[in-house]
Symmetry: C2
Subunit: 416 residues, 2 copies
Amino acid sequence: MKADKMIPTVVIVGAGFGGLRVARALRRAPVQVVLVDRNNYHLFQPLLYQVATAGLEPEEIAKPARAVLRGQKNFDFRMIEVTRVDFAAKRLDTTAGPIAYDFLVLAPGGETNFFGLASLQRHGLGLKDIPDAITIRNHVLTCFEQAMLEPDAEKRRALLTFIVVGGGPTGVEMAGALSELIRLVLVKDYPRLNIKDVRILLLEATDKLLPALPERLREAAGKTLWRKYVEVRFGATVADFDGRQAHLKSGEIIPAQTVIWAAGVRAAPLTATLGLAPARQGRIPVEPTLQLAGHPEVFIIGDAAYREQDGEPLPMVAPVAIQMGESVARNIARQLRGQPLEPFRYHDQGTLATIGRNAAVAHVFGLQLSGFPAWVMWLVVHIIQLIGFRNKLFVLLNWAWDYFFYERAARLITRD
Amino acid sequence: MKADKMIPTVVIVGAGFGGLRVARALRRAPVQVVLVDRNNYHLFQPLLYQVATAGLEPEEIAKPARAVLRGQKNFDFRMIEVTRVDFAAKRLDTTAGPIAYDFLVLAPGGETNFFGLASLQRHGLGLKDIPDAITIRNHVLTCFEQAMLEPDAEKRRALLTFIVVGGGPTGVEMAGALSELIRLVLVKDYPRLNIKDVRILLLEATDKLLPALPERLREAAGKTLWRKYVEVRFGATVADFDGRQAHLKSGEIIPAQTVIWAAGVRAAPLTATLGLAPARQGRIPVEPTLQLAGHPEVFIIGDAAYREQDGEPLPMVAPVAIQMGESVARNIARQLRGQPLEPFRYHDQGTLATIGRNAAVAHVFGLQLSGFPAWVMWLVVHIIQLIGFRNKLFVLLNWAWDYFFYERAARLITRD
């Protein structure tokens, strides 16, 4: 387990977008790369809401980390959990013993932020990993099965009321996909279902959906959701949810069995164990080079890193993590050659969000698109970014099938 | 929920091969069909071992019961568990209240039979449903991840020793698929793995694999497994397994972390709650017409029914359940028309078992095939029998991909 004295060891914590990019970009560098993650796979999180709405199978948007980097000679993977970082000794404590490093890249990602609301943490459904997505899928389908058995009309309506909290990309895409799952597919499965009993609400605390987009596209997104019978509500904040009723801050009470929580993300719990003072959302402030102050051999990237640019904190999204990963790999190579490091600068390539069949909004390359053209662009961009030709092929086939046959293949209730 | 007095209600318990066939065959009969199952899907069990060995995704071999019978006017599905049958009152007690029936078809299927061995029930891995298959997949892949971290050579070899118990079709197919998963795919994922540390054992208590087949094919199956480095052991009975060591009846001790139990099946636990005297394996004896003695309106089919033919009990396999389902549907229609019922007779169409790439044994239509021709026949038969064109397409694509690229896509460790 000891690194060769001649070849420095770069340990990367996390096989998400950022960590994987660092590992790949170091493939020709004179280093040994060790990637650790508590899962054995890389997950393409932007399509997780499609697993939650029975459109895709989890295996189609995930790929084993060992398979992704199989051809890379200087690469090693370990499925372990990091319990502590000893920055002074340059050592990680893990569930499988200590690992020494010469360079450390922390890319542990983010988790659902319930903002300390204990009742929502208990009864609300987050959407950050595969078990989350399967839980939502099982829960939504089970609500329909139970509604079919429920003679009490009020209880039945509560079973068929689905609240999505948060008007960012995840909430918007989730609400749109849920509406299509129910109104295009489940109506065929449940001929005795009265569609008037179904409610889907999208609750946003501010007065804006998709705040990163220009106003025209924000309005288009809201209208498209409304046309899909999603009740889009602004200035609506959920204060409490006991699994039966959602209490809003306004005093409004909504009987519902489902609250999907897409209202916030914070840095992964590992950041809280580092003994460092976090900034907002538990993120750790880093130098312009993404180094940890006082530890030039330690880099933090992605959702776990806090960095402002032009007076605004960088968003917790995949493109930031990917670009940070590329920057860190370059800077590690520079450091080994004794060259000065370059500061990181994020180049925003735009925002895309889909709202269902033929409907999306896109703000990319200075273009503002909505409707069908944006939807086509969304499809192309996501297929290109999926890792592995097999995943691309199977996701595309699934999408084509669902598009033409108004289907969702994966509507199994699988939890034992 | 009350049935129309004019139209008799046929309640079918179980959406397996038998139950589904009854529901379909009654589509034009003057009855209301109610199918109940604790899962919302029909599972194609013969391919479950491929989910366990990361070759297929669970969604590809299962289909929601509502989707299978979507077009059928006289059909209703309820996802509930039956807790009791009141034969006198013609009523089922369920987790969602009582259901009255005019005809009842019990098709609850089978479960893994550990023959009362408590330690194997606790530490052994059965293979009867989707959670079982995912558990085996997660367990096998986790053993490899842990072996990579294990400095102790003895512990590492125990992590890489996989014992399959039972030389029937499930055990043979499982052992063959496991060998190919490890020797063709995982060796690429784990370049530091010493393949000599890996052992796969197939333990059979008698001196025969696949006892339903003629001797030539039995021998061919055993030889093919051996060539795939599966240690096929006859007269070997596992007496105890604590999760670290398997103790055989002979006194032999095999250090191993994995025992996959494919040594037996018994009737589903529902049969034990009926107040009826079971025959072997918890199966309920039925009349030649598959009726329950004294209850002409109750039929029992599939793994839960006990019936002998030509002095031998009918095997617990899908073709028996399917043919029983067809017979029962015909007999219900005859009973409604006041015609006498016809006794059931099983027509054995043969046996097929695959052992890996290009290798299978088949005894069908009087033909005895082995090797490549049997393998092609196995592929064709299984693709035809899969329910739904989408499942056929995706399974075929997966198989083609794995065949040409020596891959297994679904090797994720997904349990949370």
